[in-house]
């Protein structure tokens, strides 16, 4: 498979150009580097959660990066593979906090983010949501490669979204899970057939490649690493809760 482009939004700003050289130093003691809630035009997304809007924002950023119209995504030919470790946390917590009446229950599901993306861009093809951090994103990239190779889609979006602000207090208490700074991010890669076959690597080297610049972005990290590498790295890898996964000869 070939990486046609990657759209990236982080707490540092839009695109990889906004990434600092050293996330920890630039965070200046902030534990969470948040992205403000986007303000989409129109009324359709008025009930959508912030993570849904960030997912759509990442696709918009991708479309600008590859200079293609949104209409090229529509239809059954585009697969959507979504990954997150944490983005359902805010909605789950809000609903658990007896504020359920104000939050539309279906938005508590991890599948809400890709659902809004699918509705926004008219995607009606292959569709899987992977839960986990960077290792799960590698799984999604591998699965996208498999779909492309067997002709189950003509192109694939691998989308990752991570939000932390609403659960910052919990993450702060659970630093053993992830040292800061936690940097909110949304990233979307557009994959097309061709190039060399990607081989699954259960024990890769070079995990956490982008972390020094990005901070902790969980599932977004491998996609940001792809963007930093110009979409054509020799390998991509990730780690989450002790599990490692990688792809070679991407």
């Amino acid at each position: 498979m070939k990486v046609a482009g990657v759209g990236v939004i982080t707490g540092w700003g839009r695109g990889v150009e906004a990434l600092p050289a050293d996330a920890a130093a630039t965070a200046g003691g902030r534990y969470v580097v948040a992205i403000p809630r986007p303000a989409p035009p129109g009324d359709r997304l008025r009930r959508a959660t912030r993570e849904c809007l960030l997912g759509i924002g990442a696709v918009e950023e991708l479309l600008q990066t590859v200079a293609r119209p949104a209409s090229e995504l529509a239809g059954p030919g585009t697969a959507l593979l979504y990954v997150t470790a944490s983005a359902y946390g805010a909605a789950n917590r809000a609903f658990l906090g007896a504020r359920g009446g104000t939050l539309h229950f279906p938005y508590t599901a991890p599948s809400a983010v890709p659902a809004e993306v699918a509705i926004e861009y008219g995607l009606c093809g292959a569709y899987v949501n992977f839960i986990g951090g960077a290792a799960a994103t590698v799984d999604a990239l591998w699965y996208a490669g498999s779909l492309l190779e067997r002709g189950a889609c003509t192109q694939a979006l691998v989308l990752a979204v991570e939000t932390f602000a609403e659960c910052a207090d919990l993450y702060r208490r659970a630093r053993w899970l992830a040292a800061g700074p936690l940097v909110e991010a949304a990233a979307c890669a557009l994959l097309r057939p061709g190039g060399r076959r990607a081989e699954y690597d259960p024990d890769p080297v070079g995990v956490d490649a982008a972390r020094r610049r990005t901070g902790q972005t969980f599932a977004c990290e491998p996609l940001i690493a792809l963007a930093v590498a110009g979409g054509d790295p020799a390998a991509v890898a990730g780690r989450w809760r002790g599990r490692r996964a990688g792809l070679r000869r991407l």
Binding site: R47, P76, L80, A85, S86, Y88, N92, R93, F95, L96, G97, G100, G101, H104, F105, P106, Y107, T108, A109, P110, S111, A112, P114, A115, E116, A118, I119, Y121, G122, L123, C124, G125, A126, Y127, V128, N129, F130, I131, G132, A136, D139, W142, Y143, S146, R150, A152, L170, R173, A174, L177, Y200, P202, W240, R241, R243, A245
Partner: protein, 389 residues
């Protein structure tokens, strides 16, 4: 057409039976899995009924408290009877793929209510129960959690089969789970999606679904690796599809469901005319059952009215992430035993749902090629094509 993947063994924990034999027996005799929920308060909810498992099987030593993990570990213990040799082979080549709509949210509910500590809160992460299952199995291969709402179990089987086909793993434990908790009961209550009556799939009087809990797992391996031992059947094809239509309701035209059925058949290399039996999603919501009927008619064509179709949600409620895995296992048991369980709760067929929904009594039949359909919030759809032995 993709290579078939062998389904070597299965394990279940459900409100109607905590092993394959009890589960199967209840499907044929109409064992009632719907009861008043007792494990958490429901008095303030419009509906307090569900498919609750009243007593979990004994936990293995050092098992986590997490109910979802306990369900998975209990279902996995049954895999050893048919697939023990494969499970014991090479831990590094043993993978786990589980699907869930809720993950460990029940743990989050406990922790945020102050009933448990921060470690318990980590159990609320959606991927925690899969990690506990992998630890219990001693699996050191990839451990994946997928969440396509109530289609998650089918997605897990499909992704698991792909891990086997692509040589990422030799053996995969795949399936789905979910537990009843206040979080989900309250959510469905707010949506007014639960019925105060019984679950009546494809019935004129159907008025909504009820939720249930459970876990269903299968052991997947390459055909050649499974050749020597017993097996339940084969997974021939899987596909998932997005509606791209609505955050909660199914697409009225069933676009994503139809895509997933057609793509799964294509992956299996099976013509619609070859289907012997369909396990429908059949939630008993007015819209789902009508949409599903129309999709089956479009895909199966003239034969649609000749093919038996059932829904087993009336027995135990909609078990969400477990549902598709349990339904796939039901298909394989139907092929093995030569009997199709009836659609429990269907008494007065809806004229708009006019397929052969196997009402009232079990049907003697020996289906070989079977289709199982699933759908969920967010326009998630998934279909499986299975072959029984």
């Amino acid at each position: 057409m993709r290579d078939p993947v062998a389904i070597v063994a299965a394990g279940v924990v459900t409100p109607i039976g905590q092993d394959l034999d009890a589960f199967w027996s209840s499907l044929l005799t109409g064992g009632a899995g719907i009861t008043r929920i007792e494990r958490f308060p429901v008095a303030d909810l419009g509906v307090g009924l569900g498919g609750e498992i009243k007593k979990l099987p004994p936990a293995p030593r050092r098992a986590p408290e997490c109910r979802a993990s306990r369900l998975l570990l209990a279902a996995a213990s049954e895999l050893r009877s048919g697939g023990g040799a494969l499970l014991a082979r090479d831990p590094a080549r043993l993978a786990v793929v589980v699907g869930t709509a809720l993950g460990g949210v029940a743990e989050g509910e406990r922790a945020l209510a102050g009933a448990a500590g921060l470690r318990t809160l980590a159990g609320a992460l959606y991927d925690s129960p899969a990690r506990n299952l992998a630890r219990g199995l001693g699996a050191r291969g990839p451990v994946l959690t997928v969440s396509t709402a109530c289609a998650s179990g089918a997605t897990a089987l499909g992704v698991g089969a792909e891990l086997v086909r692509e040589g990422v793993a030799d053996v995969v434990v795949a399936g789905g789970y979910d537990v009843l908790c206040r979080f989900v009961m309250k959510g469905f209550d707010v949506l007014r999606a639960l019925t105060r009556d019984a679950i009546r799939p494809f019935d004129r009087r159907r008025s909504g679904t009820l939720l249930g809990e459970g876990a269903g797992l299968v052991l997947l391996a390459r055909e050649q690796d499974a050749a020597a031992g017993p097996r339940l059947g084969r997974l021939l094809g899987h596909a998932s599809g997005s509606d791209g239509s609505h955050i909660a309701a199914p697409d009225p035209n069933g676009r994503g469901l139809e895509y997933s059925v057609r793509a799964a058949l294509a992956e299996a290399g099976v013509a619609p005319t070859a289907i012997d039996f369909v396990s429908a999603h059949g939630t008993a919501t007015p819209l789902n059952d009508r949409v599903e009927t129309n999709v089956l008619k479009r895909v199966l064509g003239r034969r649609a009215h000749e093919i038996p179709v059932n829904s087993i949600k009336g027995y135990m409620g909609h078990t969400m992430g477990a549902a598709a895995a349990l339904e796939a296992i039901m298909c394989l048991l139907a092929a093995r035993h030569g009997v199709i369980p009836p659609t429990f709760g269907l008494e007065d067929p809806d004229p708009e749902c006019d397929l052969d929904y196997v009402p009232r009594t079990p049907r003697a039949a020996r289906p070989r090629i079977m289709l199982s359909t699933s759908a969920g919030f967010g326009g998630c759809n998934a279909s499986l094509v299975l072959e029984g032995v």
